[in-house]
């Protein structure tokens, strides 16, 4: 995880007004203040981060200096980057209009001036070579594509509209994760002068699912079961990303019991396969059936247990 900008820390846009910044800060400070989060070091750390971000952004001068890149997010001075030494340094070649020239070749230098040299050095070969034909490979294009949870887990074919009549067909490999980028070779900007086109880079976003969640290669699912199913055991149908499967709930399962459906998790291309972890959640439903309630009253009389025994109060 890269460092967050103070704007990200406060959850505001880089062009937020001082008022918006103050409001965002107050809201977060209220939630995160150490006095209302005792013993939560992560809240305290966030609070410090939020305070530091506010210190920087609430000071118009500091904020301007940060925006200009003169100080970093902690307020420390940052060395200025002067372009000239870089442009003239070893890496500067790539920004030259004609690309790299052959350092051995005097003609390359002379041809920059239109080959207009008289005398023994000019004429002849001028007009040949790289200076004449302009060629530049196409740029990359970046797109974003949102897929639903099941498509991301099981793989899918999607069509990405670029305009009403152009599109890219995108194959989503199984097991793709939020933020992953797919590269489609040659689907980016056109090259100029016969140079190859750039690539399309597609950043994948995975929409959350109403009941599946992902944990690495495993899929997590909370499964509601009735009291009877939990006590007596049952054979139930459970949804998975590849379709419903039958699963046995063992007799006497507690709420919170975790059951594993092996191989029903994220299927990676040519790699490991995750599992689906099913967490049982006993539901009473209809705020207690009277018949069950009266049975339990008698039953509880005869079976006095305290599941909280041993818990320190």
């Amino acid at each position: 995880m890269a460092t967050q900008t103070p704007y990200e820390v406060l959850g505001v846009k880089p062009d937020a007004s001082p008022d918006e910044i103050r409001k965002a800060y107050r809201k977060l400070a209220k939630q995160l203040h150490p006095d209302i989060n005792p013993g939560k070091p992560e809240a305290e750390a966030r609070f410090k981060q939020v305070s530091a971000a506010h210190d920087l952004l609430s000071d118009a001068d500091k904020r301007a200096r940060y925006d200009r890149g003169e100080i970093d997010e902690s307020g420390a001075e940052r060395p200025r980057y002067s372009y000239r030494p870089h442009a003239e340094g070893a890496q500067g070649w790539k920004y030259q209009p004609n690309g790299e020239m052959n350092p051995e070749d005097l003609e390359d230098i002379l041809s920059m001036f239109g080959g207009g040299m008289g005398g023994p050095m000019g004429g002849g070969r001028a007009g040949r070579g790289r200076g004449q034909g302009f060629a530049m490979p196409g740029g990359d294009r970046l797109y974003a594509l949102t897929v639903d949870f099941v498509e991301a887990a099981a793989g899918a074919k999607k069509r990405l509209s670029l305009s009403p009549d152009t599109w890219l067909d995108v194959t989503i490999p199984p097991g793709i994760d939020e933020g992953q980028v797919l590269r489609l070779k040659g689907k980016g900007g056109e090259g100029v002068g016969g140079a190859p086109p750039g690539d399309a880079l597609i950043e994948i976003h995975v929409a959350p699912h109403p009941y599946f969640r992902r944990d690495g290669d495993n899929i997590l699912l909370d499964l509601p079961v009735t009291v009877a199913e939990a006590v007596l055991g049952a054979r139930v149908t459970v949804p998975t990303v590849t379709g419903p499967v039958a699963m046995t709930i063992p007799k006497g399962s507690d709420s919170g019991t975790q059951l594993r459906l092996r191989g029903k998790g994220i299927q990676r291309r040519g790699g490991a396969v995750g599992d689906q972890m099913v967490m049982l959640r006993v539901v009473i439903g209809d705020s207690g059936d009277p018949e069950l309630a009266s049975f339990l009253e008698t039953w509880a009389e005869k079976h006095k247990t305290d599941p909280r025994r041993g818990m320190a109060s």
Partner: protein, 108 residues
């Protein structure tokens, strides 16, 4: 050498979609590596240059390609000129004198 997100962190006033566009327009040429872009020092310096030109001289997006292209040409010329000067400086004194002689006098 830093990543895309680190460039955004370094220049807080720079928005993600802006930087993406700069790369797409080839104003900045970070290195493609695996599934992301890597910014070398020259690329970071160039990002800073573009920010400065925009802020200090109010050059807008339409004029920026022209400004960058002119700058790139100047740096390219300076680089070539320096190579030529180095080559001249490496010559024996009589050849240097001959070149000096051959230089047309600039007319006022």
């Amino acid at each position: 050498m830093i990543g895309f997100d680190e460039v955004l962190v370094r220049y807080g006033g720079l928005e993600r979609r802006e930087l993406i566009r700069w790369v797409e327009e080839r104003w900045v040429l970070p290195e493609r590596r695996a599934e992301t872009w890597v910014f070398h020092e020259v690329d970071v310096a160039r990002v800073e240059l573009i920010l400065e030109i925009r802020r200090d001289f109010a050059v807008d997006d339409e004029a920026m390609p022209l400004v960058l292209s002119l700058l790139d040409q100047v740096y390219s010329l300076r680089r070539q000129m320096r190579r030529l000067c180095d080559a001249v400086a490496a010559q024996p004194e009589d050849i240097q004198a001959a070149i000096r002689q051959a230089l047309p006098k600039s007319t006022p």
